[in-house]
């Protein structure tokens, strides 16, 4: 199935943010904004919910902590107890650096993989580009056009894009979600 998108390209992020705010005030549903860098205040302007990525980070960290503690305790107390300078087999202070590192490792790798999966960035994924210049110096405001979108709405979108300073407005026909 092919999706139609209406794309407005801006070269000034302030104009783009103001535009997005106005469009949302006028009850137009902005599908997405593509920008070469993270723009401050954009989440707010788009009315996005807070990311839940950090919650997964906590869960991965806690899991990593538990795994590391369980594994080390098992190895040093029952599987292969060794005498290190007369210290007890369960030497918690010696475990702490490893617990810390493993927690951070699990949280970071887990969060990265989750982020990549949720954004659909797994290997073998072929993505059609919305516009190559959005990786350089252009900011794109994207509307999705489906069967229900009336011609009136499309012209309103175009007007809004035009009036808020979009330099180029075009329709794109992409195979999948870009």
């Amino acid at each position: 199935m092919r999706n139609k998108f209406l794309v407005g390209l801006y070269s000034d992020e302030d104009k783009m943010i103001d535009g997005v705010r106005k469009m949302r005030e006028n009850h137009l549903e902005v599908y997405d904004v593509v920008s070469p860098f993270a723009v401050h205040g954009l989440d707010d302007a788009l009315g996005l919910n807070e990311s839940r990525l950090h919650i997964t980070g906590f869960i991965y960290g806690a899991t990593g902590l538990t795994i590391a503690l369980t594994f080390m305790s098992w190895v040093f107390t029952s599987d292969w107890p060794l005498n290190f300078g007369g210290k007890p087999h369960f030497s918690f202070p010696a475990f702490v650096p490893i617990l810390f590192e493993f927690t951070v490792l699990s949280a970071s790798i887990g969060m990265t993989l989750t982020f990549l999966l949720r954004s659909g960035l797994y290997p073998g994924r072929i993505r059609e580009k919305l516009d190559e210049r959005t990786t350089d110096d252009k900011f794109a405001v994207v509307f999705r056009i489906n069967k229900k979108t009336t011609a009136e709405e499309i012209s309103k979108m175009k007007d809004m894009l035009q009036s808020s300073g979009a330099e180029e407005i075009k329709e794109r026909d992409l195979k999948r979600h870009y």
């Binding site: 401050h40 807070e50 950090h54 906590f58 007369g86 202070p93 010696a94 702490v96």
Partner: protein, 393 residues
């Protein structure tokens, strides 16, 4: 933008009452604990003087560090750390008096006849001797206090300048860059002089970082409390949830930093297991076991869990709670540095330990509120003022 803090008579009364309670506790301490237990009074005086002087020094460091980092976020509430740093000269004088009067009771290395028969202490006399001890104190604290007063003066002068004039900002940068090296050296020296030399046979290279981390996170907690107090009283309208979020991040981050250096010190000594090093923790483990574990809960576990989420850092009441936990926790931390070395098993938690901090809190409140009342609460011509107002996280 023009708003000045009104040091109401109610606040004045509160600080006066606190001072009176503290003074009564101090006098009571000298009466009750005269004789053998007099050390307990001196140890408490040292504890409170060092702890509260650290708050002043940490606030001055906050201003200087933000200047040098070209930081903008704190400009709208900059007068708060500035006012707290004005407490530093007062606290320095108090500590000087305590050290002059109490060094014989507190520090073993000041007793000439004991040092004579102790080869380790004899070897350290080049550094640990009274004249040099006070020269260090006067030289470094003199420099820090001078820089702090100059920073305050330039900041106040900036308000009277024309808009867009950055002369005073540049001068502040110079003063801050003089302040930082002195602070960097002296914060380590303070730890050796005031705290580590209570156990003169023992030494640790992590000790300076350990006490600096404590000073620093306590100062941030105090700055947060004062800022929220002013905000709740209806002042500082430009301070919004983003600025508090920044302070929350700093409290969270430096609580972890404290844990990191504290644990580093502990683990190296625990691992190596050399008797002359482990003796420090031996003193702090047996009799003081609840506190030894307690500070990890108060200074790490609770701030870590309570401040972890973004919403928590943007919630004033949560910040107040965590700031109080951090202040109490680090007070306990200093208690644990000082008490085992000075009073040993004869420590306690009585009217002196509760009352004496009131004296310092009363003085601190009085100095901070009167300095806040002297100037506009928001700096007028700071070049980063707009950046700070539009700060968002």
């Amino acid at each position: 933008m023009n708003e000045t803090f009104n040091f109401t008579s109610r606040l004045k009364t509160i600080s006066m009452v606190l001072m009176l309670i503290g003074a009564a506790a101090l006098a009571g301490g000298f009466v009750v604990y005269s004789g053998d237990e007099i050390n307990r009074v001196w140890a408490n005086l040292l504890l409170d003087s060092v702890f509260f002087l650290g708050i002043g020094m940490g606030s001055a460091f906050f201003i200087a560090a933000v200047y040098l980092a070209w930081g903008g976020f704190s400009v709208v509430f900059k007068r708060v750390p500035e006012a707290i740093s004005q407490w530093m000269p007062v606290a320095a004088v108090i500590l000087l008096l305590v050290l002059i009067a109490g060094h014989g009771n507190l520090y073993e290395w000041t007793h000439a006849e004991e040092v004579e028969h102790d080869p380790i202490l004899k070897g350290k006399t080049a550094y640990l001797n009274l004249p040099f001890f006070f020269i260090r104190f006067a030289f470094f604290l003199g420099a820090l206090v001078t820089c702090t007063i100059l920073l305050r003066k330039t900041s106040l002068k900036e308000d009277t300048m024309m808009a867009g004039d950055t002369t005073m900002y540049k001068r502040s940068l110079v003063i801050a860059s003089v302040f930082i090296p002195f602070f960097a050296v002296y914060i380590l020296v303070t730890a050796w002089d005031w705290l580590m030399s209570l156990d003169p046979h023992w030494y640790s290279t992590m000790y300076g970082w350990y006490s600096f981390a404590s000073f620093w996170v306590t100062s941030i907690a105090v700055i947060t409390l004062f800022t929220i107090f002013l905000k709740k009283k209806g002042y500082l309208k430009e301070v919004n949830v983003n600025h508090l979020h920044n302070l929350g991040i700093m409290m969270f981050a430096f609580s972890i930093f404290w844990t990191y250096v504290t644990f580093c010190q502990f683990m190296l000594i625990w691992y190596a297991n050399i008797p002359e090093e482990t003796i420090y923790f031996q003193h702090r483990y047996g009799h003081y076991k609840p506190l030894f574990y307690g500070i990890f809960v108060l200074n790490f576990v609770l701030p870590f869990l309570l401040l972890m989420s973004r919403d928590a850092k943007r919630n004033m009441n949560r910040l107040i709670l965590v700031a109080c936990i951090i202040i109490i926790g680090h007070f306990t931390d200093f208690y644990l540095m000082i008490m085992p070395a000075t009073v040993g098993d004869k420590n306690g938690f009585g009217f002196l330990e509760i009352g004496l901090p009131c004296l310092y809190i009363g003085l601190l409140l009085y100095v901070v509120f009167s300095s806040l009342a002297k100037a506009n609460l928001v700096p007028k011509n700071h070049p980063f003022l707009q950046e700070s107002i539009h700060n968002s996280l």
